[in-house]
Structures are given as C-alpha cells and as structure tokens.
C-alpha cells in the first residue's frame, strides 16, 4: 500500500509573486527549477550582506589605528563575513545551479526526492536567518568562521553568538546533506536512456563527485558542532584543556570537514568551467577522462590533507611531513585540469562572450590562488605566512577566483535558459572588466601585507611602513568591487525586462538542458532522444559527423 498526496500540477514556469496563489506556489514548490532559483536569489541577497560586512572591515582598516569600529564589532563582523560568504553565498550559489541544472542536463523531469529538495532549501534559508538573528539576540558570533576552541567556549565567549553560529550551521548542514543525497540518487537513477555515467556532462560529473564529499564531510562538522554546543550549553569539556579536554581535537574535527569544504566549493566551479570553455571554444573538452578522473583524485585526496591548517600547532616533523606530501599532491590533479582547459581553447574558435571572459579569467586567478595554496603545504613557508594577510589573499583568490568567477560565468551562461532572456553583453563586459581589475587590486596587495607581518583578523594595526598605504589602496579597490556587483544586479533587472529573447539554444551548446524551451516548462522534457555520446545536441545538429561515429577520439 502506498499513500500519495494530491499535489496540484503547477502550470507556470514562473508563478508571479503578486498573483493570487503566486507566493504560496513559491514557498510550497517542489519543482527543482523554482527551488534552484530561490537558492540563487538567496545567495545574491546574502552576497550583498556579506559584501557590506567586508566593506565595514575595509573602512576600519583603511588607516592604521582607526576607530570606526570597536574591536567587539569588528570581530563579530569578520566572523559573520566569513560564515556568510562560505555557508550562505558560495554553497547555495553552487547548490542552486546544481539543483536547477542537474535534472535538465541528464534529461530528467525532477530530482529523485523533490520534497527533500524543498526541505534542503528551507533548512538552508532558515539556518541563514537564524544566524543573522544573533545580532538581535545579544551579539553575533565573534570567534572566526572556524571558531577555534577554547576561544569559542562559554568562558571566553559569553555572548550567545557562538550558540547561534553552531545551531544555524548545524541546520544548514542538514539541508546541505539532503541536497548531496539528492544529487547522488538523481544522477544514479534518473538519467535519460543511453546516458551512461561515462557520458555525463562534466558539470554533472563534478556535482556528483562533490555530493559524496558533502555526504562525508558535513556529518563530521555536525558532530563537532554538537560537541561545542554540549560544551557551551551543558558545561561539558570536550575542548577545554583545563578539565581534561583538548583544544586540538576541535581543529582536527573542524578541518576534517573544512578542507573538503574548500573543494565542495571548488569542484562545481570546475564543472562550470568544463561546460563553458568548450562551448565558447567550439571544441569538446580536451581529455574528458583526465578531467573526470582528476576530480575523483581531488575528492579522495581532500580527506587526507586537513592538518595542513595545523602546521603551527607543533605536532611534530613526521606528522607535518605526511600532510605536506598529501597537500602538495593535490596540486597535480588540479594542474591537470588547468592545462586541459587551456588545451580546450587551443585550436578552437573562441567567442568572447561575458561568460567565457569570466571562465578565462578564472584560469588565471585560480592558478594564483592554487599556487599560493601549495606554498602553504610547504611547511616552513606556512610557518611564516599562516594566519597572516597572505592567507586572506589566498582564500579570496580561491573562493572568488574559482567559485565566484565561475559563478558569474554560470550566471551569464545559463541565465538565458533560466529566464528565456539574454543578459546584456554590454553591461556584462563592463561588469567583467570592473570586477576583474578591482578584485585583483583589492586582494593582490594582501600577499604583500602578509609578508610585511600583518596578521589576519586584527581590528587595527600599528603605523608601520607601507601598511597604511597598502590598506588604503585595498579599501578603495573594494569600493569599486562593490560597484561591479551593482552592475551585475542592474544587468539582471535590466535584462529581465528588456533583454533579447534567448531561444532554446542561444550558445549552440551541446548538453541536454538546451534541448528544452527557455525557460523550461514545469515538466522539463516531453521526449528525450536516446543519448549516444557526451554531446547529444552536437549529434542532433551534425547528423553527418556525430560524435558517436568517431572511431579514434584520441
């Protein structure tokens, strides 16, 4: 016996919020497309908040010994900035694209678990609101996004901020695990006929691999969060050395999650680049197998590198050497990807659409961020630069240089599919150039500040040579960075109203999502052709030279 609830079929691609049932349709929807769109809007909303927090920090740091913010305020703001950008912007942005696109790209009409999908989104959303409620409830968390014990214990952090931090991330984590589970099952069970796992579009492949990372990493974090909550609320002492706990355990637990998390935010971005670069180079991805296999290598290695965040703890040379080796090894599969993407461009016929510009800039920015990351695997370099502004430069070159650059590439690439309108290329190119220049001006100087001896997470700094002028330069550039975000938002609203009609396949792309209408109807596909190769739409459009007929693809 099975029960089924009668859910009325939605008929509109976009229920209007102001229509009779529009609002209800949005909040009750289980359609992966509407949920994906809600993820993306929330990510943009929190991006604005996270950026505002960054701007407050930059104003405080513009001059040495500035008193714009008190230390308490500054410490809350930098904690909220990091937590927001990671858990409330990049994670939902990438999960949002995956939720929207994964079923479409494998020729499915829904996710495997539509209600779990909605649950995941609302857990994330309310988790985010709970985190921000802490401002009204006695103080936001103030111990950094990795919340090192024992500073995060009740004795050292008496406001309820850390409780809100742990609970909201726990809630969001449950949502993220739900999303990961959904991606795995959907990819395994809902593929169109003929679409074997070896023919998956690379974005789907990377989301699929990534989902396993989510399933393995987030439960570890959740366990740690429960431990810190028990410590704080029930007076236990997991992490209090004075009463028999260990402060180092928290670091192990957090980074066992935390380092895979970096890849959780990077792999889908790599997937985006692997879709965008081939289409705008008019060539298939160079070395599909290498790109796919290196993803698995990164995923597996990412669980053996966590202690490179702990080289300064003093855990011994042998211990450090092991984690140095594993962390350096990750550079290899990552480097493979970079060169495969470049080789994809090589010999192509490159169209400089905004999406492609972001993807190409990503190749360079992420190389810088990746290489400074390998620097931290070299233990003695880490002993000089960890916890300085050099790290701040590094994480921004990875999280912005990879995740956000690819996020913008994805936005320009899939906006026509999602809305049926093209984003303005004119505003887009302006957005790109302002963004790429101001991003580098803001963050490149952080490398130098770190070398000069400026530690991270300081609310102010002494008036030593160059510190003031470099910080001022960064602050001014950050303001320009803000303008580029405004250009992007303006572009969205402008193009929604005045944008050109996109048609089904404006980029002449090759994956299944471009087969259906733009925007897709609530039911994605009526018929999906039998998939014979990795580029089904190429096969359809080139019956004289389909991929599946090629004998020696190498």
């Amino acid at each position: 016996m099975s029960y089924s609830l009668e859910i009325p079929e939605s008929v509109n691609s976009f229920p209007k919020i102001r229509s009779t049932n529009g609002f209800l349709e949005w909040i009750s929807t289980v359609d992966h497309k509407l949920i994906g769109i809600m993820y993306l809007w929330s990510a943009l909303f929190f991006l604005i908040i996270g950026f505002a927090e960054a701007m407050l920090m930059r104003i405080q740091l513009a001059q040495p010994q500035n008193s714009f913010l008190t230390p308490e305020a500054y410490n809350q703001i930098f904690t909220m900035h990091g937590t927001t950008m990671i858990f409330l912007v990049l994670t939902p942005m990438l999960i949002g694209f995956a939720t929207y696109l994964l079923p479409l790209m494998i020729g499915a009409n829904e996710m495997a678990y539509p209600r779990l999908n909605a649950f995941s989104f609302w857990m994330f959303f309310f988790g985010g609101l709970l985190l921000y409620f802490s401002f009204l409830a006695g103080g936001a968390p103030n111990v950094g996004w990795f919340s090192y014990a024992p500073l995060s214990e009740k004795f050292y952090s008496i406001t309820p901020g850390v409780d809100y931090w742990a609970m909201s991330i726990l809630i969001m984590g449950i949502g993220t695990i739900g999303a990961g589970l959904n991606f795995v099952v959907t990819t395994l069970t809902m593929r169109a006929p003929g679409l074997s796992l070896t023919k998956l579009p690379l974005f789907v492949w990377m989301v699929f691999v990534n989902a396993f990372l989510i399933l393995a990493a987030f439960p570890v974090l959740n366990a740690g969060l429960v431990m810190i909550l028990i410590d704080r609320l029930l007076n236990a002492h997991f992490f209090l050395a004075a009463t028999g706990g260990s402060a180092v355990i928290w670091q192990h637990v957090f980074w066992t999650f935390g380092h895979p998390e970096v890849y959780i935010l990077a792999l889908p971005a790599f997937g985006i680049a692997s879709e965008v670069i081939p289409v705008f180079s008019r060539k298939p991805i160079f070395g599909y197998e290498f790109v796919a296999a290196s993803t698995v290598a990164i995923a597996l290695l990412s669980f053996g590198v966590w202690a490179h965040h702990m080289f300064a703890v003093g855990l011994g040379t042998t211990f450090n050497a092991f984690f140095a080796a594993s962390s350096m090894l990750i550079a290899v599969p990552t480097g493979v990807k970079i060169f495969n993407w470049i080789a994809t461009m090589w010999g192509g016929s490159i169209q400089f659409k905004t999406s492609m510009l972001f993807a190409m800039a990503f190749l360079i920015e992420f190389t810088i961020g990746g290489l400074s990351g390998v620097g931290f695997a070299i233990v003695p370099i880490d002993w000089r630069l960890t916890d300085t502004y050099f790290v701040v430069a590094h994480i921004h070159y990875v999280f912005i240089g990879a995740s956000l650059f690819c996020g913008f590439a994805a936005a320009y690439y899939w906006f026509p599919k999602i809305t049926g309108k093209m984003l303005s290329e004119k505003i887009g190119k302006l957005h790109f150039w302002v963004f790429v220049i101001s991003f580098n001006c803001t963050f490149f100087v952080f490398h130098i500040l770190g070398l000069l001896g400026m530690p991270r997470r300081v609310f102010t700094y002494p008036d030593l040579p160059y510190l003031g002028s470099l910080n001022m330069f960064s602050t001014i550039s950050a303001a320009v960075l803000g303008i580029s975000f405004l250009m992007f938002i303006w572009n969205i609203f402008y193009s929604l109203k005045y944008g050109e009609d996109a048609g089904d396949n404006p980029w002449n792309a090759w994956t299944l999502e471009w087969l259906t209408s733009s925007p897709p109807k609530p039911k994605n596909f009526n018929i999906v052709p039998f998939v014979k190769s990795r580029r089904p739409l190429w096969d359809l459009n080139h019956p004289e030279d389909p991929d599946w007929k090629r004998k020696n693809k190498k």
Binding site: P71, E72, N75, N142, Y148, L151, S157, A241, G245, A247, S281, R282, K283, F286, E289, F290, A312, V313, G314, T317, A321, A324, A325, M328, A331, V332, V336, F339, N340, I342, A343, M345, W346, G347, G348, S349, I350, F352, L363, I364, T367, L371, S372, V374, I378, V379, P380, I381, W383, R384, D387, T388, L452, G453, P455, R457, V458, F459, T460, K554
Partner: protein, 316 residues
C-alpha cells in the same frame, strides 16, 4: 627602482638562520610559482588572441584529447612537488633542531589574553612583552598558553609556533645581529588580538648580562611621598591580586609582572609607548584604552592615578 629593491629586501630580511632558511625556500618556490603563473597567463592570452572566432567560420576541428600531452602535464608537476617535498623536509629538520629530553629551557613564554609572560628560569627573571636575548646564542624556548590559543611570531627570527592550552611546545629563538625585532600574536585570540605585539631586543652578551642583572634587582622602595602613597594603593586597591612586584607582597601572575615596568619601552603589549601620559590614561579607564582587556576599571580618582603612576614609574 632603488626604493623597490630596498622594499623587497626588507620584505625578506632575516636575523637568524631559521628565518633565512624559510625565506630562501619561499623565494625558490616563488620562482617556480611565478613561472607557472606567467605560463598559464600567457597561454590563456595568446590562445585567446590566436584562436579568436573569425567571421563566418565553420566549427573548428573537433579534438578530444591527447594522452601523451596530458601525461606530460601530469608527470611534470609531480616531479616539481616531489622536489619541493624534499626541500620541505630538509628545511623543517634544520629549523626544528633536536634537544635533550631533560634540557632546561632558556626562555619560557606563556601567552595570555593579550600579553606575553616571559621568563628566564636560569636567571630567575620574569618580564612581559619585551624579550631581551643575547646575540648569537641558540635559546631553547618553551611556549605555553594560559587561556586560549595564541601564536608566537617574530618574522625576522624564524618560525611561528602556537601556544596551545594543555600543550607544551618548544622552539629555538636566536638572532645573529643586534637589533629590535617586532612580532605579533598570529592566532586569533579574542577582542584585543590586534594588540598582542612582541618586541625582541637582541643585544651583545655584555648588554644582556647587564640587563639581566638589572632585572634581578629588587626595586628600591620609593622615597617621595606621592609614590609611597601609590605603593600603598597598589596593595590596597587589589592591584596586587593580579600583578607581581618583587620585594612586595604582590606575587600573583594573572597580569604582567611589573617589577621593572619602567624599564620597558612600550606598554599594553606594544599598543602604546610607555609614557607618563599613557600610563595615567590607562589607569584612569582601562576599558577606554584597550577594550576587553582583563584589567577592570577601579574608578580611581585623579589623585590616586597620579600616586599609582608615580610609584609604577619608579619601578626601574
């Protein structure tokens, strides 16, 4: 140009073999990293120009890969990281030189929210925030924490090392030329993390011996009446519950040791220069000067502030 060169050499100046080794390794890695960034950037830009779409062209040749090429760019990075792994292990063992299990440390550093307790167990001397060391000596240093995690970092003198509650860490401190080296706490440790700076004075063995001798002396009891009042206030206003001044009943070590406070150049962990005005400002309202610091406001009157300051400034 000259300015740029100076700037660059300053960035990588070192005053100990540890720091020198770290900087050398860093510069070697920078050469490789710089080369790769240049390579990738030029490949992307040259590729973009060379293969830009021309009008009315058909689809380019569909190339799916080239295993030989791909193996090349898998193996080459592997060789590069192997080389740097070798350098990593070598440099690590050069910096973390071994020591005898029962070797007594020359210096013990205990990190507190937001100051450094510095002890010389061999001389029975204790000071705060300003470390004096003799040039050319390798000093075994033990690092501990009294509360949360802190991190000892003086870039020109070598590696950083965490001060973790419940753990004891050892490192070597040495300077090969005299000078004043500035450092800072490098692990976020709460409200005043920014003002937990370090000042290391490296001096000749002679100067160091003199300094130690001066530190070992018990400060003489004040003679002028204001300072005598201050000395009484120090004991009665509960300053003595947290601070240590040798030769007096004040023997706690919750706050910095004040025995020779007046001999220090800075106060509040490098936040302010040690002047009469700053000291009075601090005593008048500690939370206004360094918010969050663990010294409470004792609501001292102006007269009391003057008396206390006069006493403390006599602690040379």
């Amino acid at each position: 140009m000259q300015q740029f060169v100076n700037f660059f050499t300053n960035l990588f100046s070192s005053a100990s073999s540890e720091a020198y080794n770290i900087n050398t390794l860093f510069l070697r890695y920078m050469i490789l990293a710089g080369f790769i960034v240049l390579l990738v950037t030029s490949l992307v830009i040259i590729g973009a120009f060379k293969y830009r779409a021309k009008k009315n062209t058909k689809e380019p040749e569909q190339v799916f890969g080239n295993q030989k090429l791909e193996l090349t760019w898998t193996v080459l990075p592997l060789l590069a990281v192997t080389f740097f792994f070798f350098l990593t292990v070598k440099t690590m063992s050069e910096i973390n030189r071994p020591f005898q299990k029962n070797e007594k440390p020359d210096i013990v550093i205990i990190a507190h929210q937001w100051w450094w307790d510095m002890r010389y167990p061999k001389y029975n001397v204790e000071t705060a925030n300003e470390l004096h060391i003799p040039v050319g000596k390798n000093l075994l240093t033990r690092i501990e924490s009294a509360d949360v995690i802190h991190d000892w970092w003086v870039p020109e003198l070598g590696r950083k090392i965490d001060a973790v509650p419940g753990r004891i860490n050892y490192t070597w401190i040495d300077a090969d030329k005299p000078g004043v080296y500035s450092g800072t706490c490098s692990e976020y440790c709460g409200a005043q993390h920014a003002w937990m700076r370090i000042r290391v004075v490296a001096e000749s063995q002679n100067d160091f011996n003199n300094w130690i001798k001066a530190q070992q002396k018990i400060p003489s009891f004040p003679k002028d009446s204001t300072a005598i009042k201050g000395a009484e206030l120090f004991q009665t206003k509960t300053c003595a519950n947290c601070h240590y001044i040798s030769g007096t009943p004040a023997d706690a070590s919750i706050g910095p040791n004040l025995t020779h406070f007046a001999s220090r150049k800075t106060m509040l962990s490098g936040m302010l220069t040690n002047t009469d005005k700053n000291l009075k400002r601090w005593l008048k309202d500690p939370q206004k000067v360094k918010r969050g610091a663990h010294m409470p406001d004792f609501l001292l009157s102006k007269k009391e502030v003057n008396e206390l300051a006069s006493y403390i400034e006599g602690l040379k």
